[in-house]
Amino acid sequence: MGLLLKCEHVDFGYENQDAVVDVSLEVRTGDYICIVGENGSGKSTLMKGILGLLKPTAGRIEVSEELKRAGIGYLPQQTEAQKDFPATVFEVVLSGCLGKRGNRPFYSAREKNAARANLERLGIADLRKSCFRDLSGGQKQRVLIARALCATDRLLVLDEPITGLDPSAIQEFYQLIRHLNREEQVAILMVSHDMANIVHQADKILHMRQRPLFYGPVREYVKSRWAREFLAGEDAAEEKAGNAAEEKAGNATEEKAGNAAEEKTGNAAGVSADGKEDAT
């Protein structure tokens, strides 16, 4: 298992304010890691740091030679401006090769072939000439994943990827990511609110609240008190038991009454509870 990326005790902050404290994290080939936490818990800051957009204020980030050369495949949140953007699917996907071009002005045949191959890979080759603004939410997401894969097919970093997708598109999206992860060994690093789904999808969880509260395999996470807190809010809305995660969450509801601090976490999880309701 090749090491792709390693954070050792890194801190990130803006203007004397620590947003992320003491995170150690390893990403290896074929990993599927989710970063969860409330709003403002430093998830996005950490992700920016991993992408190299922020310099750590302490600690260090090691990036494998391979990723340094190819860059990280990044799937940002979709912006308002993209809704009516006149660009063909091919133009968008091809722009993923930009990092490999450096300062050379035009794309070569090799990059165009890479873009075509990634369109095939995600099953959207027939949309090649379609306009990005005419696509459905799920199709847009596929196009943006294809673009990220043009940068590298080693590591995909996804920022709240299911925002704005309809329920069937969400399931399709998770299947696609799982396929890329299992069959093609693409390492996945996802920031998400969608607890209900990710405990079934990811291998490892990093739970953030400025500092890492939990980092380890999902199996252990669902037994931890952090997961109980986080899932507690969700459990009220979602009564479907049947797997370990929710059983534990069930226990948490009983504990909840006396624990004022946990209320807050519950609110954050409430957002994902909605998502789950839609999904099932």
Partner: protein, 299 residues
């Protein structure tokens, strides 16, 4: 038609206006594609008002108009970009405040020194006589830079326009491109303003991109078509203005508006046709199903 154009070309000031104007509209339309798609259209409008203020002050004090306006407007461009990017203040409100203030200062300075004469009117609504030889040379240099940017950095311009976060993550220096585009826009506006008028210059930036977006499905297509539309629209507007003795800037804007409406019309026509087609196909299915059902009912 050819006769009229030949007649126009016999006046040196009109030749200068045509050359300068065509170069400025080309730059404005290319930069406009990026600005409009990034929701920065208002920056163009704000800058034109700042440019009016700076120009009024320069004329009142007796300095050369370009050497004062260009730095002031470039500074304003930095500032407006910063406001829009930081998102701390409501950027549309901030730009409106800056525009109105610059306009007010310009008007007061002009009326205190020269009085509200034809000068103010010509800054506001443009004058065909405004293009000097110096302006034309500057417009040529500017369009070389803008064309170079769109030719050699096309892919980066696309990436920065489409998705700043992704571009940043792949190592593009996004803010550098934003600043470059804002500065080039500032210079374009200063150059075009005295001919097109402070109130009308932003249309050169917004109209071509908006028009091209109606029908074109690719970014490359939108860039190319808005460049062509802008140059053609400017030329047609100038001919119109010459033939009917209408103000030059306003004539160009009216031509742009007409082309825009035609494009919107075609797009709506296409959409209706597509919907009709879909409805017809759906109807056809219903009819077939109904046919089958009635046949099945018959013993």
């Amino acid at each position: 038609m050819i006769g009229i154009v030949a007649e126009m070309l016999s006046y040196p000031f009109l030749v200068r206006a045509l050359i300068g104007g065509i170069l400025v509209s080309l730059c404005a339309s290319l930069l406009g594609v990026s600005l409009v798609l990034k929701r920065y259209s208002m920056i163009g409008d704000g800058l034109s008002h700042v440019s009016f203020g700076a120009l009024s002050v320069a004329v009142a004090v007796g300095w050369s108009p370009l050497s004062v306006s260009i730095p002031v407007v470039v500074l304003a461009a930095f500032f407006l970009l910063r406001i829009t990017e930081s998102g701390k203040m409501k950027s549309d409100a901030a730009i409106a405040v800056i525009s109105a203030s610059a306009l007010a200062i310009g008007i007061i300075v002009t009326s205190m020194t020269t009085g509200m004469t034809t000068d103010v009117s010509s800054y506001m609504f443009g004058s065909i006589l405004a293009m000097s030889r110096e302006d034309v040379a500057l417009a040529a240099a500017l369009s070389l830079i803008v064309l170079g940017l769109f030719l050699f950095c096309y892919n980066k311009v696309f990436a920065v326009t489409f998705d700043e976060s992704f571009a940043r993550a792949t190592g593009v220096r996004v803010s550098r491109y934003n600043v470059l585009i804002a500065v080039l826009t500032a210079v374009t506006i200063v150059l075009g303003m005295r001919m097109m008028g402070a109130m009308l210059i932003s249309s050169l930036i917004i109209f071509p991109a908006l028009t091209a977006m109606q029908l074109l499905k690719s970014f490359r297509g939108v860039v190319a078509v808005s460049g062509v539309l802008s140059v053609a629209g400017f030329f047609a507007g100038m001919v119109l203005s010459y033939v009917y003795s209408t103000p030059a800037g306003a004539s160009v804007v009216v031509v742009d508006l007409a082309v825009f409406l035609v494009f919107v019309g075609i797009r709506m026509g296409r959409e209706r046709k597509r919907k009709k087609g879909e409805a017809w196909r759906a109807g056809e299915k219903d009819r077939k199903r109904a046919g089958r059902e009635t046949r099945a009912e018959r013993p």
